[in-house]
């Protein structure tokens, strides 16, 4: 059952995740300790992450205990089931001891040994192809059964989550199948063993007996049955032979009977159980947590979110400070536009001589050449506050300081994306250079924005 190991551990993970989910959905614990997901490299799948979280919170909510108890109860239940199988198997073998004469009707014994098992087996086969309407039934049944073992308040979450996990991942059928096949395997193998023991130490004789069938039919049936094990080298004496059988031939029938139970009883169950186990193993490979469920889905974005890493830390710039002095006085009022032309109110610039646009370093060089010897009394700089301030345009403004006794910065839009930014940067500029009265900041009140 090694391939089942993988299934078991996967299933346990799902169960643990589900247990925490059920608990949280129900209790909505107000005080959730901060859980910082593991952002280690390489990144983990969402299944692994949710499971790690579940383990963390199982501990925190103290649910481990009830989980372990439930697992223990489950094991006890399985143990009891197999014990039952042993007992029933023993009983089943005793059908041959039904009468004192120890003369056994072969068809009857065969039917008694394999009849129920084969009937249930075929029902199971048929059920495979029927969609269950009330699939929760078996789950509910198991739940009720387990409740007998566990009565603590937290145990109910363990059971509830077990049932839900089985249901949600559509495994009720498979798991129940495995157990029922194993149950029958144990039962029939026990029966075969006991049968062997009985045959070993007691003598039986077998007959073909019937009340309703005629001889040819029976002969045909016997032949059919006889062939069913011939591939194993076990043959069944014909009907006529059996009527006058020797001890050796009776023994042959006994071996054949045990062979039937082992092959079409235990063997069938064993092969089926292995097949189901194979299906489970394949299934468990692709089995991951359904993270779209309420109670899990809201965790997913946070768990999957990449951590942030600071790469090139800020190291404060030391000693970079270019002081610029304003001249005490100057001649003439000038107007220039920072970076690019933008419509401004007429009266604002009425008494100003226009200097055009100040956008580049060469613009600044041109202005410096013009005003170095004879500074202006004031310079009005109109600023488009829909463009961001930056160190580049502040450098241009700084370049204007030696060129005019007063710097007047005017934001041309009543509303601009970067009004706040400009105001704070300009105020900072003012205090950095101790401009005081040498600088004025204003802003348009009614603009014709278009």
């Amino acid at each position: 059952m090694i391939p089942l190991q993988q299934f078991k551990s996967k299933f346990l993970q799902l169960w643990q995740i589900e247990l925490v989910r059920c608990y949280e959905r129900d209790q909505s614990p107000a005080l959730q300790p901060p859980y910082s997901p593991n952002t280690q490299q390489p990144p983990q799948s969402i299944h692994v992450q949710l499971h790690e979280r579940a383990l963390h919170f199982l501990e925190h909510y103290q649910l481990y205990h009830s989980l372990n108890n439930t697992i223990k109860s489950l094991k006890v239940m399985v143990f009891l089931l197999f014990a039952l199988a042993l007992v029933v198997g023993f009983g089943l073998a005793k059908v041959v001891d039904g009468n004192v004469s120890r003369v056994l009707s072969l068809p009857w014994v065969l039917f008694a040994l394999l009849g129920v098992h084969l009937l249930l087996y075929f029902i199971w086969l048929a059920m495979l192809f029927i969609k269950p309407r009330q699939g929760g039934f078996i789950g509910g049944f198991i739940q009720q059964g387990l409740q007998l073992f566990n009565r603590t308040p937290k145990a109910k979450y363990a059971l509830q989550s077990l049932g839900h996990t089985l249901n949600h991942y559509q495994m009720v059928k498979l798991v129940v199948s495995i157990f029922s096949h194993l149950y029958w395997l144990v039962l029939l193998t026990t029966a075969a063993l006991i049968l062997g023991l009985l045959f070993l130490f007691q003598s039986y004789s077998f007959t073909w007996e019937t009340t309703v069938l005629n001889l040819p039919t029976m002969t045909y049936l016997a032949e059919l049955l006889g062939r069913s094990l011939s591939w194993l080298g076990l043959s069944l004496p014909t009907v006529e032979v059996l009527q006058t059988a020797s001890a050796e031939q009776q023994a042959q029938v006994g071996r054949w009977l045990i062979g039937m139970v082992l092959v079409y009883g235990s063997g069938l169950r064993l092969v089926t159980a292995l097949l189901v186990a194979g299906v489970l193993t394949v299934r468990s490979k692709g089995l991951t947590v359904d993270h779209t469920q309420p109670g899990l889905s809201h965790l997913v974005p946070l768990l999957l979110r990449s951590g942030t890493q600071s790469v090139d830390k800020e190291n404060p710039v030391i000693g970079y400070n270019q002081q610029a002095q304003q001249p005490a006085s100057g001649v003439g009022h000038y107007w220039l536009q920072l970076e690019h032309p933008e419509a401004v109110e007429q009266q604002l610039t009425a008494n100003h001589k226009t200097l055009g646009t100040l956008a580049t370093m060469s613009d600044l060089e041109r202005l410096t050449a013009q005003f170095k010897t004879q500074p202006a009394a004031s310079m009005l700089v109109t600023i488009d506050n829909q463009l961001t301030p930056d160190r580049g345009n502040m450098r241009l403004l700084r370049g204007l300081l030696p060129l005019a006794a007063e710097l007047h910065c005017h934001l041309v839009h009543e509303q601009g994306a970067f009004t706040e930014g400009w105001l704070s940067v300009l105020q900072g500029f003012n205090s950095e250079h101790n401009l005081g009265q040498g600088m004025r900041i204003s802003q348009a009140e009614h603009t014709n924005d278009n």
């Binding site: 390489p42 779209t292 463009l387 930056d390 580049g392």
Partner: protein
């Protein structure tokens, strides 16, 4: 699978929305700092794009280039006979200079990062004219000799992209992509990643895996949100409390308790839905919703709120009567019907004792049962659906409030209405009454409801408007 992740630097002028771009791409509203002042981002920080367990790309957020004109002039002095055809070498010798730690410290960080990465995403604020300083910036970035993908941000219906596009074309950049940081769109992401593949064919497979993952994540969100909404509707619709009619204090208390329970449930669902889309209450700016100081108001039982969503007030509303709007009182079990009663009995027995048929218990102890009206369910449904639709496309850098098209007659179609009407009969289904049954009937119903809701989310074409 173990190929090195593609490293991409997000570069551009200050305040063009680089950090915002990354927030939306990473679906993380808390990445970095965003503000309309220059030099908000001072460090280079890195976050990853992950497909499953594979780190596909590393994204580096850089400080803005601010003083590019001066830097561009400054860089000329590093050009000499040896490196005049090797511009990365020019940048490297600049990085060795004292100015790189001083005057141009911020720009140096960008350049240093850029020289270490595979490609550059150049974010542009398309509202701005193509100023010379931006061209200088671009010229500096081009010196690093890395593939550049221009990302056109701040786009809306009236954006004129032509000036920027032709300016980019003049320096041979014809691969610009539109990317609105205010909304997420798989189409935009796909085009962006396709350009990345074109610029870095060697990373084709991982980037395509990433694309596939992104599509799956999108689908996950729809499914998960639809599940949450379906669960909420079932929990509220099937919720019942018993009340003694002849005791008016009891009625009032029960009513209050009933409303509060429903409100709490909606609030919880809302937070979960927000979280599914990667938001928290504060990030999403749900100004239209009745949340005050983080507390959800008793809005779901308000006929005005119904009207706003085109929900008709039914007969269950007794204005000023004993029963509050939106709560249906099942007098004498009459509105239950015999079938329901039997169903409840059977259900109660199957569930095992404790919750044994509240109806019957109530009936025998002289109490009546309260249940939410269809109007309440319809309101919850419409409101949350509109919200989900808005969140589905909301960018994680969005700054405007979420806008729900409230009055715009979202019609609940017949089959959905039928599902909603079926809920109140399933009295054992509400988690609000402490039911834990994970009956397969309930799961099957929720699946059906959530599939329908999911389809509504995915097909809504004009779901979202980002404010104003």
């Amino acid at each position: 699978m173990t190929t090195k992740p593609v490293s991409m630097s997000v570069v551009g002028h200050t305040n063009t929305g680089k950090t915002s771009f990354l927030r939306t791409l990473l679906k993380n509203p808390h990445f970095g700092e965003v503000a309309a002042t220059p030099s908000t981002t001072r460090d280079v920080s890195m976050a990853q794009l992950i497909a499953g367990t594979e780190v596909v790309a590393e994204l580096f957020d850089t400080p803005g280039l601010e003083d590019s004109q001066a830097l561009y002039m400054h860089l000329q002095q590093y050009v000499n006979a040896q490196n005049k055809h090797n511009s990365p070498a020019v940048l490297a010798s600049f990085l060795q200079s004292p100015q790189a730690n001083n005057e141009f410290e911020q720009e140096a960080k960008v350049i240093r990062q850029l020289l270490h990465t595979d490609l550059a995403l150049f974010v542009i604020d398309t509202r701005t004219p193509v100023l010379e300083k931006y061209l200088d910036e671009l010229a500096i970035l081009r010196m690093a000799a890395k593939p550049i993908i221009p990302v056109l941000n701040f786009i809306n219906e009236n954006s004129d992209l032509a000036p920027w596009q032709s300016a980019l074309a003049r320096v041979n950049l014809h691969n610009s992509v539109l990317f609105d940081t205010q909304s997420t769109s798989l189409a935009h992401e796909t085009r962006l990643l396709e350009q990345c593949i074109a610029a870095m064919p060697i990373a084709r497979e991982p980037l395509q895996r990433l694309l596939k993952t992104r599509a799956q994540e999108q689908h996950f969100k729809t499914t998960a949100a639809a599940n949450l909404l379906a669960e909420l509707l079932v929990n509220v619709g099937a919720y019942q409390t018993a009340v003694r009619l002849d005791d008016s204090a009891d009625v009032a208390a029960a009513q209050q308790h009933f409303k509060q329970t429903v409100i709490n449930a909606e609030n919880k669902a809302l937070q979960d839905i927000l979280a599914v889309f990667g938001f928290q209450l504060g990030d999403a700016r749900l100004e239209q919703l009745p949340i005050e100081n983080g507390h959800w108001q008793q809005h779901s039982f308000d006929t005005d709120a119904w009207r706003a969503l085109g929900v008709e007030a039914g007969t269950g509303v007794v204005a000023g009567g004993t029963v509050g709007a939106g709560i249906d009182l099942m007098v004498g079990g009459a509105s239950l019907g015999a079938g329901t009663l039997i169903g409840a009995m059977v259900g109660g027995m199957y569930q095992g004792s404790k919750k044994f048929s509240r109806q019957l218990q109530a009936k025998f102890s002289g109490k009546e049962l309260m249940q939410a009206d269809q109007q309440v369910l319809e309101l919850l449904f419409k409101r949350q659906l509109l919200l989900i639709q808005a969140l589905a496309t909301r960018g994680h850098a969005a700054i405007s409030p979420v806008y729900l098209k409230l009055s715009n007659g979202l019609v609940v179609d017949k089959s959905l209405k039928k599902l909603l009407q079926a809920i109140p009969r399933q009295v054992n289904w509400s988690a609000l009454s402490g039911a834990h049954s994970h009956s397969s009937d309930r799961s099957a119903f929720i699946k059906k409801l959530s599939d329908q809701i999911g389809a509504l989310i995915e097909t809504s074409s004009d779901y979202y408007l980002s404010g104003n």
